[in-house]
Assembly symmetry: C2
Homo-oligomer: 367 residues x 2
């Protein structure tokens, strides 16, 4: 039995956090861990990945290679992940050896849009109307029921707008399903909202919870383009948004940063806020915290994974974050010379179309 009040799983400096995934989020998690004197071991299926440049140990391996995952687990004191498509079996397998935070339940829910919507709805947290779509008949019925435009989304492996088709009543269901290769899907009603925001909630391994200020998010082509803090939400909206995120984080017995994307329907909307989707990880809409807060989302995620107390989420400045996508990154010389631009680049070799290459934060005195 651990002594009362002393968590046996607070990892001391010098411990090693295993990170599944080697993209930019893994890179920034590794740097945040290093700030706290923690080492990282990054596990990635690609030999050239952004996180490998800043970690103490590296493994190149597949996410279904249980032998390699076992060997990885033996070298680390806790495991986290930087993307939500880590196979649930891998997380379960690892959790037999070391704490995995956030846990497998969060992964499982977040990997299936239908399960996610049902889980959130069942908590009494509003979501946009949705329907399960397994075939053209389901889709036709759902479109008729909503009697308004909808978005067909694959249940699995969608990100950055991939696997989505917009359609209006009267469109050919079979053609829309063909666009997503007849994958199991859901139809969501398309609603007109005032703006998109996200709640970045962090929950410690001990259940303590805190929230960053909400950014207002702008997407273009399905990809997050810009996040601005503060958002236009007033105190009542903020309170409600946080209560919604809190309910989800608690129901998942979550540890780490959880991003809850929401639609704000306006100050007089009823309900004023709906959950769009959740991401069980640090999130692009929280990158402004790297420069506008003393403790970033990455550090707070690591603190939760390591069983540490959470750090303050307060922002000292207002902030705007703009993603550098694909060819945007070629503008680095101008951005480096711009005294208002705080530049973050991810070390990716090729600026492929739609690829997130970096981001720029701009601060203003706190409003």
């Amino acid at each position: 039995m651990p002594e009362p009040g002393l968590r046996s799983d607070r990892l001391p400096p010098g411990s090693t956090i295993g990170v599944l995934g080697g993209g930019q989020l893994g890179r920034m998690l590794s740097m945040a861990a290093a700030k706290l004197g923690l080492r990282t071991h990054v596990y990635c299926d690609e030999p050239e990945c952004p996180a490998f440049d800043v970690c103490a140990e590296r493994t190149v391996g597949g996410y279904t290679d249980l032998d390699r995952l076992t060997a990885f687990a033996a070298t680390v004191d806790a495991v986290t992940y930087e993307f939500e498509n880590v196979p649930v079996d891998a997380a379960r397998h690892l959790s037999a050896q070391v704490p995995v935070r956030p846990g497998a339940l969060a992964l499982e829910i977040a990997q299936d849009r239908l399960a996610e919507k049902r889980f959130i709805s069942a908590l009494g947290v509003p979501v946009a109307p949705f329907a399960q779509v397994d075939n053209a008949g389901d889709l036709a019925a759902a479109l008729q029921q909503f009697a308004s435009p909808g978005i067909l989304k694959t249940r699995r492996f969608g990100y950055d707008g991939k696997g989505q088709v917009s359609l209006v009543p009267g469109d050919d269901p079979a053609a829309a399903l063909a666009e997503i290769s007849f994958a199991p899907a859901i139809l969501e009603q398309r609603l007109s909202f005032t703006c998109e925001v996200s709640v970045l909630v962090v929950r410690g391994a001990d259940g303590a919870m805190d929230f960053y200020d909400l950014p207002q998010n702008t997407h273009a082509g399905g990809i997050l383009r810009r996040s601005v803090v503060p958002s236009p939400l007033g105190p009542a909206g903020l309170e409600q948004a946080r209560a919604m995120a809190r309910r989800i984080a608690e129901a998942l017995d979550y540890a780490g940063v959880l991003a809850v994307e929401m639609f704000f329907m306006g100050p007089h909307g009823e309900p004023p806020l709906l959950v769009n989707e959740i991401a069980p990880r640090v999130h692009n809409s929280g990158h402004w915290t790297m420069d506008a807060c003393g403790v970033s989302q990455f550090e707070n995620h690591i603190r939760a994974v390591a069983g540490w107390p959470l750090g303050p989420t307060v922002r000292h400045s207002d902030a705007e974050m703009v993603n550098l996508i694909g060819e945007d990154a070629r503008g680095w010389p101008e951005l480096a010379a711009d005294p208002g631009a705080l530049l973050h680049l991810y070390g990716k070799r090729q600026p492929r179309n739609g690829r997130k290459m970096g981001h720029v934060n701009r601060l203003r005195p706190r409003s």
Copy 2:
């Protein structure tokens, strides 16, 4: 010939910066480079060093091993260093292959207290009265000349108060010299000053220059304990301090962050400021910039080394930095739980006496 206005040596993201030395400064330099999409290759003579946890490539090698240095240089696009006792020959050797910033001249001057004092004096920048001490006769004569207390300091390899002996007129010169093993030395007159400050000047590879706000520094046992920004210097003092640092940086044709430690003799002192010593590198008294500025001293040093434009040095907050020395680091659980403490730990295994293990920054709204 490079095109006018286009520096051929502006290293693009993905380039590799070689860092000589793997201590905490090398660690924080590596993380700053990664923020800009630059890789680091750390060269250190110890196999377990803080910077090895956050760099893309590592070499364990001696600083006089020219073959290994040659191989290291072949893998990098520019070289910098994190401590001023890198052998000048190593820097010269490397500079035949790649740009070394700051250059060998800064190292050479900073490695010899006598050369440093003479160099600075010759620029018309005030320093405390000093005398060359090669033997007991020199020391006796200097003490008599100053007719006041002095500090005997070895010319080389002194840091954190090591290699220093305080003495007053009438003390036995031979005994004092024995304490420093009769190493070549200087005697500096001990002056009573109002406070210690440091100028963190950054100079780009193109000669552009900028300054961080001056911290007031407090030492204990010869080791920096605390830096507070802003310092008590008024506008005239600040202007003079910057002009002094500027003169030194220009005379060294410096690239990177240069720390110039000064004694402030008070608002009515004549001269009001004296240079104590310089460090041709990022500096402990600049660690507050990691949390109180958009661009830290580490990032600006890397920008200069990479031939990039400098980033803004403006602070968004007032700050206090306190070093965690030796056993202080055992207080990490309390510091991690302190919402006012921004904690930085260096990943060092053993909290040896006098060893810098980390630091804590505390911010306040800008005054």
